[in-house]
């Protein structure tokens, strides 16, 4: 098979026609979104150009420290994003749980994937490590974000139910079980749903990329199946670690609900 068709600068520029069309529509309809569209298009373009150059350098000079640096930056951005996206201000303890669950959940899955499932040598080969890390970290980030909001909503709306269970002698874990189950369910549902539509409703990004760059679709699906399972695993592990430690931050050492933090 041939590699991807190389685009000339003019060809890439011609794709900006779509932005012009969008700007025209927005202006005609008086939607007042021109500024956002221009900013986001510019950001996307500059960020991707920068990433392109950085990745070129990293792929040419494989080095375990650089690979680890990249994954650390990804984790930091993902964790910041989770904290920023939560509907309410998170307590210091809950933030610590977010950091712990993200790092443990994603790294465990990533290293299992790299070392056992696809068995890449050397393990830090950035051509594999970085894109896989991106997908695993990104999906765990979305999972924990959903889990956090469901957990906080659950505590806010059902504080009387939890308190009643405690009054009846329930452990905090038993008292929170319905909320934790619901949060876990909401967090993994998008991943499960996307698995159902995969290959029929849409072709996932990684697979599309591989096919465009000339890989056989059969190789592409092998990778896609494996990464989907890895993503599901990573989301499940990060979210369950987050929930199992996260609910505890809503109780004090006398197993009383910290109502003032809700």
């Amino acid at each position: 098979m041939n590699g991807a068709v190389k685009l000339s600068i003019m060809q890439v520029l011609s794709a900006y026609l779509f932005i012009l069309i969008l700007l025209l529509i927005v202006k005609r309809r008086g939607l007042n979104r021109e500024k956002e569209i221009i900013i986001s298009t510019t950001r996307m373009t500059l960020q991707l150009i920068l990433t392109g150059y950085i990745l070129t350098y990293i792929l040419k000079n494989p080095n375990p420290f650089i690979t680890l640096l990249v994954i650390s930056i990804m984790e930091i951005f993902a964790i910041q994003n989770i904290i920023k996206r939560s509907k309410t201000k998170l307590s210091y303890e809950l933030k610590k749980v977010v950091v712990f669950s993200m790092i443990v959940g994603t790294l465990f899955t990533l290293f299992y994937f790299i070392l056992i499932v696809i068995n890449i040598k050397p393990w830090y080969n950035p051509q594999y490590f970085i894109p896989l890390a991106g997908m695993i970290i990104g999906n765990s980030m979305t999972g924990i974000s959903l889990g956090i909001n469901k957990l906080i909503d659950g505590f806010k709306n059902q504080v009387d139910v939890i308190e009643c269970s405690l009054m009846l002698g329930a452990s905090p874990k038993d008292a929170c079980k319905p909320i934790l189950d619901n949060a876990f369910d909401s967090a993994i549902l998008p991943t499960i749903n996307s698995m159902v539509g995969m290959g029929i409703v849409f072709l996932p990004g990684m697979m599309t990329g591989q096919i465009l760059s000339g890989s056989s679709p059969l190789v592409a699906i092998e990778y896609q199946i494996a990464i989907m399972l890895g993503i599901l695993g990573s989301v499940s592990i990060s979210v369950i670690i987050f929930l199992l430690f996260g609910y505890k931050t809503f109780f004090n050492n006398r197993m009383q609900i910290k109502r003032e933090e809700l």
């Binding site: 269970s165 405690l166 009054m167």
Partner: protein, 205 residues
Amino acid sequence: MFEVKNLKYKDILYIDHLNINKNSVTCIVGESGSGKTTLLKMLNNIISPDEGEIYFNRKEINQYNPIDLRRRVVMLPQTPIIYKGSILDNILIGKKFSKSEIYDIKEIENLLEKFNVNKNLNEPAENLSGGEKQRVCLIRVLIMNPEVILLDEPTSALDENTEDLVINYVVEYVKKNNKTLIMVTHSKEIAKKYSDHIIEITKRR
């Protein structure tokens, strides 16, 4: 059984000294906002005072494992809380929490009948009326067989006759089984009729 010393909680509750005897029926009365529920919650260790001590059987309440204490001193909140599931699931949930799943179905049916709840145990509990929910929650506490029963206005949704019937039964049960009952009530008549001791809490102005 309970001794409270120099207790202070926010701006709501100040108690210099209070004794509550074992095997007795004590009613707590007072206007709303005076801290009756707060006191009950403290005896159940659901909240802690800012200052002062609470002793249960001469031991500071914080020296007990909170879960063990709450299984011995069970509290029924004022708003009846209904869990997903049947009436039977709701009645058994307290026992489930304390991992003691042995129960006598006859006893439960008997209590439902005594409390005038004419429903099948397998019906979904959500369909019950407010008053029925309140009685189901009370049965939930009684079948846990705790040493101390803390009730927060357990009959607020009931008419006078049913209220009397229910309280009468609970008090009889407490006396017969050597339990201790501490009950918040809005009704001074109920307090006078059934309690051995009355604690009146006044609101600070």
